[in-house]
């Protein structure tokens, strides 16, 4: 049932597949990025081959995020010291094909915990969540030049924009973009924290208000009594035609499935509905991923298991299968 694709070196800490699943980027404790490719995507035969390795950071690479393919083969590497580097694969001036660092978003007082890339109105945007509970949205100015970025907005993950929490200490952050295609319209994203400041934690849906040129929280995915819960992971499901969005939110209380309405009510908020609270992973949830139909959710967590979740014909969510790694 399981087929081995690749063995990786000692010290590898993270991995990430590109949009088509034929390239794998891995990060290592020594701060290097390695890239592996399937040779022939048409027949998917042959195993992955190593194609490039380059040093990105001094420190450990904690996470790798691919940039949408409309901007080439580009990854963002988040290091444990809190900086983000963008690398792109490119041929320049008769040099051979190689991965080059294009931009590093440094860290002075706060560290970058998570980044995601999305396209809105044919512009590439980078959403970065920082350890002080802030989120910054950057915009790429020139589609072929990955060095030119502009800060578009900066705000904290709170519903009430007046309050500010200066001394927040966030352990981790989780961003999930609304997975819409082609980027012809404005995108929205979901943001949550695992921090000591309860107001920052709960997952909020942020949308750009064109009229007032600012980001607004349009929904909060937490019941009143759960608002301060530390959030481990969030995942926005692809919507292939449902009349509502489906979002998974993992907290210490379990895995919650939310429905998010598509049309705002009179005060501009999107209606939310908590459909299920599921328990499975004991402790932290590391990662949640929806399949391309948005019908199956895969999760990993502290118990080391991979779990799959689905709704049955009656709309009841349940755990469908689990995978236990063994040597």
């Amino acid at each position: 049932m399981a087929k081995e694709l690749l063995s990786l070196d000692n010290g590898t800490t993270c991995s990430s597949w590109n949009y088509s699943g034929i390239r794998l980027a891995t990060g290592s404790t020594d701060g290097s990025l390695s890239v592996f490719d399937f040779r022939d995507p048409a027949s998917s035969s042959n195993n992955l081959r190593f194609t490039f390795k380059t040093k990105v950071h001094e420190g450990n690479i904690a996470k790798i995020v691919w940039v949408p393919p409309e901007y080439g083969d580009v990854v963002g590497c988040v290091s444990t010291d809190g900086s983000v580097s963008l690398l792109e694969e490119i041929v320049e001036d008769s040099q051979p094909l190689q991965w080059k660092i294009r931009k590093t978003f440094g860290s002075n007082e706060s560290k970058v915990l998570d980044v995601q890339f999305g396209i809105s109105f044919t512009r590439l945007k980078m959403v970065a969540a920082y350890s002080d509970g802030h989120v910054r949205v950057f915009e790429l100015l020139d589609p072929l030049e990955l060095t030119n970025w502009q800060l578009q907005a900066e705000f904290q993950n709170v519903v009430d924009s007046v309050s500010s929490f200066g001394k927040a200490l966030c352990l981790s952050a989780s961003i999930s973009l609304n997975p819409q295609k082609c980027g012809s319209e404005e995108f929205s994203f979901l943001l949550s924290f695992n921090s000591d400041t309860p107001e920052l934690n709960s997952s909020k849906v942020w949308e750009f208000d064109q009229a007032h040129r600012r980001w607004l929280p349009v929904a909060e995915l937490a019941l009143p009594e759960d608002k301060g819960d530390r959030v481990y992971a969030v995942a926005w499901a692809p919507n292939i035609g449902r009349l509502y969005e489906v979002i998974a939110v993992a907290t210490q209380k379990g895995l919650a499935i939310w429905h998010l309405g598509l049309n705002p009510n009179h005060n501009g908020r999107l209606p939310v509905d908590k459909i299920a609270l599921l328990s499975g992973h004991e402790g932290m949830v590391w990662q949640m991923e929806w399949d391309m139909s948005g019908m199956t959710l895969a999760t990993t967590g502290d118990d080391g298991m991979v779990r799959l979740w689905q709704s049955n014909l009656n709309g009841v969510w349940h755990q469908q299968a689990a995978f236990e790694p063994t040597s």
Partner: protein, 354 residues
């Protein structure tokens, strides 16, 4: 086990292979009794790519694996020819290597192999090759804009770069016209004519600005008839088949496709296909009695599953209409009534025309 169907014009045998077939060729052989076909295959279950020689027997019908050679990666271009007493198979792989296989012309057994390793000829995987008729000279072109000539010598393999466009122009098809001339094709229905006696740039370029209404596409295959070396026949995107006469450079004759019926000398014809024409070959079987000004009939195979013959000013003839793409085909030289083609759905079909 074959599935046989008989239509009015031909007998069709289908042979499921249970692996993807990238390309097929008839193997030129000396013996009149043995028929061999070369298949470039990839088994997606075992991750093994290979070049296989199958023997074809019409009565009782059989298409059995005869001998095979494991390729380091999937084949992207396959050609076969005859040289002295040997059958020569040339194949380029998706990882960029080029291989020559030699088979005994009478029994079809693979005997030896020589190769050019990866990254020597092309920096990207996808390359296209053509093997000269009755020889071991092979021209290779690629997306990277490199044009190479590879020759098998007595004891070694020689290769040299004829041209490098530094990626400004990509080549997607190539065909020998004579021992010193060849034609290449690329994006935007671009065609180039090369003459080794005049090294460097192409000696002639097909001008693309003849019909601004034509939607652009990519040339996938070229054929040049030995008796009419001045005409370059190309097949590509959107069902386009065009003939470029070197003597009338600005006026291509569109035989099929979106632009058919427009332009000088083109009579309104129905397009045989609307999608990619993957391969084109002059149909040596149909004897055209028309004047030498007309383009000789040609066979094509396409993404939308058509194997057919087109002739200037005539309605196209459909030989096969499959629910899946036909990746490649080959007309048997010695017996041009027989056509072999590879179907996308992991099978091979052999047509015997009546």
């Amino acid at each position: 086990m074959a599935v046989t169907a008989i239509s009015e014009t031909s007998q069709i045998h289908r042979f499921p292979q249970y692996k993807y077939i990238h390309a097929v060729r008839w193997l030129p052989v000396l013996s009149a009794f043995n028929r061999f076909a070369v298949l470039a295959s990839s088994d997606s279950d075992s991750d093994v790519s290979s070049i296989e020689i199958h023997s074809f027997k019409p009565n009782p019908i059989s298409f059995d694996l005869h001998s095979s050679w494991a390729s380091p990666s999937p084949i992207s271009s396959l050609k076969a020819s005859q040289f002295l007493q040997k059958s020569v198979i040339a194949a380029s792989t998706s990882s960029g290597s080029l291989h020559f296989l030699f088979a005994d012309s009478s029994d079809g057994m693979l005997e030896s192999e020589v190769s050019v390793p990866e990254n020597e000829l092309h920096s990207v995987g996808k390359s296209c090759i053509d093997l000269i008729d009755g020889g071991v000279e092979c021209v290779t072109v690629g997306d990277d804009g490199k044009v190479n000539l590879v020759t098998v010598g007595d004891s070694n393999l020689n290769y040299r770069r004829l041209f490098d466009s530094d990626g400004l122009v990509s080549y997607t098809a190539v065909k020998w016209a004579s021992p010193v001339e060849f034609a290449t094709g690329g994006y935007g229905f671009g065609l180039q004519w090369w003459d080794q006696r005049k090294p460097g740039d192409p000696v002639s370029q097909f001008k693309g600005n003849w019909d601004t209404k034509l939607t652009s596409g990519i040339v996938h295959s070229i054929d040049i008839h030995p008796s009419r070396k001045h005409t370059c026949l190309a097949g590509g995107s959107l069902g386009t088949v065009l003939a470029w006469d070197l003597r009338w450079q600005q006026q291509p004759i569109i035989l099929s496709g979106a632009g058919a019926g427009n332009g000088a000398g083109n009579t309104a014809v129905q397009s045989i296909s609307e999608s990619e024409v993957w391969e084109i070959q002059y149909d040596r079987c149909i004897k055209s009695n028309t004047s030498s000004t007309r383009i000789l009939p040609a066979m094509i195979c396409s993404e939308d599953g058509i194997l057919g013959v087109i002739e200037q000013g005539e309605e196209p003839i459909e030989l096969l209409a499959e629910p899946c793409a036909i990746n490649s085909f080959d007309i048997d030289r010695h017996n041009p009534l027989d056509v072999i083609c590879s179907l996308e759905w992991e099978s091979v079909a052999i047509l015997t025309r009546q």
